[in-house]
Symmetry: C2
Subunit: 172 residues, 2 copies
DNA sequence: CCTTTAAGTTGCCTTTAGAAACGTTTTTTA
DNA sequence: TAAAAAACGTTTCTAAAGGCAACTTAAAGG
């Protein structure tokens, strides 16, 4: 669609292609809350019906939702998360935690409680294989098994590694 | 901008408002790779210049990037990640891991290597406060300290908790 | 059977994205 | 130090996407 260069071999770009859209993420949020029907998505989000129609179709095409007909003829349907879609849960949680921290000043409107111990879930963090939490500067990108030439060239041009130095506060 | 109902009190919606846009996420990816200049973003992404201009302005307005003038007069600038922006690293990583798993069949084009032990980083997971990984069904949403009435009402309507049941495979 | 609800589709208008050209201000380099 | 090139946008124009309301068709409910 857009892109141009090697963009699409990047997993971030692929993910964005699937869900990088204002409405799509909110549709998924609703799906995780158990919403499955066209009218419910529409009513809860206030999204235009043609746009919703398009997004649901697109999500189904990506295998993130599955359209399940409730009638032989095909009309009347539910949209269910597939396993691929359910795995996007991690993305929603991390977005929510970022929003809680930076746009709600740590006072979340919604908390996720673990059934295992009744406590709020932990903040998600990037960790090494031994479980140590990693800061931005403590990792570097390198070509993986699926790398192509463009990716290899691109990575060679990266200076100090992931996020090589950043700056400033400005706080909230 | 859009929305309509209580949408915007949700942290996911706030996060989406800040970065929920095809280009914005890719701009941030570049920023994490150390890109800071207008021309570099433009050349690497192939994004239209007016759109890039708009997105950088928007990100700066959200306090995710900071525009740092290199000359007294103001022209010629760099865009640096703030701490708020750097914290979005978690989002990018989880998007990348999702893309690796579901659109690259587990063969990532890029791997992130921890400097702590030289190994690829772990898969990010949602965990309880004791560090146990949680599945979708093992948590439930409840109103937090920042909840308003609309949120409370909304949560009361959620059936079995987060993601109450999903379905089907369809695999990749 | 008649009414209501669900799930879209269609048509129209507004907003946003994309491509190319233009104008300045810095930085090179000859 | 003068001329050329590069950097950083803004402007203009066209194409595509989003939003809104009305309309259609198919089930469900009574």
């Amino acid at each position: 669609m857009h892109s141009g260069n090697e963009t699409m071999s990047c997993s971030v770009a692929r993910a964005v292609d699937a869900i990088g859209d204002r409405w799509t993420v909110l549709i998924l949020r609703e799906a995780f809350w158990g919403v499955r029907r066209f009218e419910s998505f529409q009513a809860n989000l206030g999204i235009a019906r043609n746009v919703l129609s398009d997004r649901l179709r697109r999500l189904a095409a990506h295998g993130i939702l599955e359209r399940v007909s409730l009638t032989p003829g095909g009309k009347r349907a539910e949209y269910h998360l597939t396993r691929k879609g359910a795995d996007l849960f991690r993305v929603l949680v991390v977005l929510m935690q970022w929003g809680d921290r930076w746009t709600h000043d740590g006072e979340p409107p919604v908390r996720l409680i673990a059934r295992t111990n009744g406590e709020p879930i932990a903040e998600m963090a990037v960790r090494d294989s031994d479980g140590r939490a990693l800061g931005l500067m403590e990792m570097r990108p390198e070509p993986g098994p699926g790398a192509n030439d463009a990716t290899r060239r691109r990575l060679a041009a990266v200076p100090g590694g992931a996020g090589s130095r950043y700056q400033s506060d400005r706080s909230t």
